[in-house]
């Protein structure tokens, strides 16, 4: 590291050392707190125990019944992730418009034709409320949403869809809002100079710029959601998770491996679908 490349090693600043030693302390504290026993993990008992468990998984159960069960679960998981992601976009879009200040009450849209004080106060309030709602949606993990919805509408894949939609809606709403605030202002100025109304500037200036990024983020969250959909079943929200939960609880190890292979295939499929869609559309 002779200053030959543009990298900036952490140690060049005193604060870098401070941060690094902070992390060392954090790691030591965590090592003690989690009672990780590296000795038994690397040599001996722990490793043998684990190897024993994972060896029991083989071979996967490839009987017709197990395969059919895994297939049905995989299709259900796919459906949950797909509808959940679309619901998330439906929740995120209006909230993103309400949480982007440049759409709501300041910036180019409001240059020269200001809002009345009351109207502005109302809009600032709307912004704060929508922002708070997004925070709540995003903070509560999918699995907690799923528990709550199972409690409300009963077992099955439907509460899983709602859980993904609510949590991901919060995440996407935040990301979409940031995209809306970060669009290139020059096209908007050009539109404004022709006398376009606010709605027109939004429709023809802001949204066309934001749409590709919206799509890209939505596809990325779909990849996250297929993984989440595969575990929501642990709390009774359908899909592969429910079957995995049963397989683990009843010690059906060979079936468990079949289901894990199904998750692997679904995740790989959705990653590939999402990547190729992104390449072609964005």
């Amino acid at each position: 590291m002779n200053g030959m490349v543009s990298a900036r090693p952490l140690g060049r600043h005193r604060s870098g050392w401070l941060v690094a030693s902070g992390f060392v302390l954090l790691i030591v504290w965590s090592y003690q707190g989690t009672r990780v026993d590296l000795g038994s993990l690397l040599g001996g008992e722990g490793l043998r125990q684990m190897a024993g468990y994972f060896a029991k998984l083989f071979p996967p159960d490839l009987s017709f019944r197990a395969l059919r069960d895994a297939g049905v679960g995989a299709v259900e998981t796919f459906a949950i992730s797909f509808v959940g992601s679309i619901l998330a976009v439906c929740i995120a879009l209006p909230l993103a418009l309400l949480t982007s200040r440049t759409v709501l009450y300041r910036g180019i849209l409001y240059e020269g034709r200001g809002l009345s004080t009351a109207s502005r106060a109302l809009r600032v309030g709307l912004y704060a409320a929508a922002k708070a709602l997004l925070n709540v949606l995003r903070t509560i993990p999918e699995i907690v949403w799923a528990l709550m919805f199972v409690f409300m509408v009963g077992l099955g894949p439907f509460p899983g869809v709602l859980a993904l939609g609510f949590h991901t809606g919060g995440v996407l709403g935040k990301l979409f809002g940031e995209v809306l605030e970060d669009v290139d202002p020059r096209p908007l100025e050009a539109l404004q100079s022709t006398g376009a109304s606010r709605l027109r500037i939004l429709l023809y200036g802001i949204l066309p710029q934001a749409a590709p990024q919206f799509l890209s983020y939505a596809l990325y969250r779909w990849e996250v959601n297929i993984r989440a959909a595969a575990v929501l079943g642990f709390v009774g929200a359908g899909g592969l998770g429910q079957r995995i939960h049963i397989a683990i609880s009843l010690f059906l190890e060979h079936q468990l491996l079949t289901l894990m292979l199904a998750i692997y295939l679904m995740v790989t499929l959705v990653d590939w679908l999402s990547a190729s869609l992104r390449r072609r559309l964005v």
């Binding site: 590291m1 002779n2 030959m4 490349v5 543009s6 990298a7 900036r8 090693p9 952490l10 604060s15 870098g16 790691i27 965590s30 090592y31 707190g33 989690t34 009672r35 990780v36 026993d37 722990g46 125990q49 684990m50 468990y53 994972f54 299709v75 259900e76 796919f78 459906a79 949950i80 797909f82 509808v83 903070t139 509560i140 993990p141 699995i143 907690v144 528990l147 709550m148 409690f151 409300m152 009963g154 099955g156 439907f158 899983g160 869809v161 993984r227 595969a230 575990v231 642990f234 709390v235 359908g238 995995i244 683990i248 468990l256 894990m260 998750i263 692997y264 995740v267 790989t268 072609r280």
Partner: protein, 289 residues
């Protein structure tokens, strides 16, 4: 003016009937998938108005106010809160321990192609380089495709309840992600310093140590910190399958219909996640300029 880029594009991707039909085809497929998925996922908003659904919502809302803020409850929850942080930190450390060797092996520019191997023997390069490369790639992909939640449940079975299976689950799942991203970072490095070192007669180890690692380090640190932010979210829900931390408390309170406790725990979770995001974001902004 507008003709030039479109002509260029047409030259790169020859326009054909199938390309022109793609958007329509895609729309039909997406619509069909949506209709099928709506049926399979049994989406039915009427279920909110059937039976006890609305009553349950009301019970939940009524039960969660006021949130439980008594000192003894908050005191009891400090330990699970600390445990969540500890699981996330140790899990990330373990992910790095798993991710670095596998990531190095999964880097094509280190194992079998590019500047480092211009002097190598072809056959040896393939057997000693390509096989470990392919093997570590598939291990990484298996590690990260199984959700950490499933890993946690399996590790609870393998090593028993407590924070340790949570650490292992995050370590394995995030090790798979870190390894993949490390290898991508290493493969996308500027090759010019490496070639300069190579021309200067540096050994392979020297090229890696002085050319590759200094370039990669900021991105590696930044991405690892980002994964830590994700790990804190993960470690807070792994408790649902018995792997310690706040999740276990949320699940217990939920099962006992103590919604006032659930709200408090969710607020604690929010504060925890927000502060970790803040700390990690500040450090990342300084590491990567």
């Amino acid at each position: 003016m507008a003709m030039i880029p479109s002509a260029e594009r047409a030259g790169r991707f020859p326009a054909s009937a199938s390309k022109a039909a793609f958007p329509y085809l895609l729309a039909v497929v997406v619509l069909a998938a949506l209709v099928g998925s709506l049926r399979i996922a049994q989406v039915d908003p009427r279920r909110f108005f059937e039976g006890d659904a609305l009553g349950n919502v009301a019970r939940f809302v009524r039960g969660s106010y006021p949130p439980r803020l008594s000192p003894e409850f908050l005191g009891l929850m400090l330990q699970p809160l600390a445990e969540t942080v500890q699981i996330s930190v140790m899990g990330t450390v373990m992910a790095v321990i798993i991710g670095i060797p596998l990531g190095l092996l999964a880097t094509s520019s280190l194992t079998w192609s590019g500047v480092l191997h211009e002097r190598g023997v072809r056959l040896g390069r393939l057997t000693l380089g390509f096989l470990p490369y392919a093997l570590s790639r598939s291990i990484l992909s298996a590690f990260r495709s199984i959700p950490e939640y499933v890993w946690a449940f399996m590790f609870v079975r393998a090593v028993g309840l407590g924070p340790f299976p949570g650490v292992l689950a995050i370590g394995v799942a995030y090790g798979g992600m870190l390894g993949k991203v490390y290898s991508e970072i290493l493969e996308n490095m500027d090759p010019r310093p490496l070639e300069a070192l190579h021309a200067g007669g540096a050994s392979k180890g020297g090229i890696v140590l002085y050319g590759l690692l200094p370039q990669a380090l900021p991105n590696v640190i930044s991405y690892t910190l980002y994964r830590w932010e994700c790990a804190i979210r993960a470690s807070s829900i792994l408790g649902f399958v018995g792997a310690g931390g706040l999740g276990q408390q949320i699940e217990l309170s939920m099962r006992m219909f103590q919604f006032d406790e659930v709200i408090t725990l969710l607020a604690m979770l929010f504060l925890l996640v927000a502060s970790v995001d803040f700390i990690s974001g500040r450090i990342r902004a300084r590491v990567v300029r």
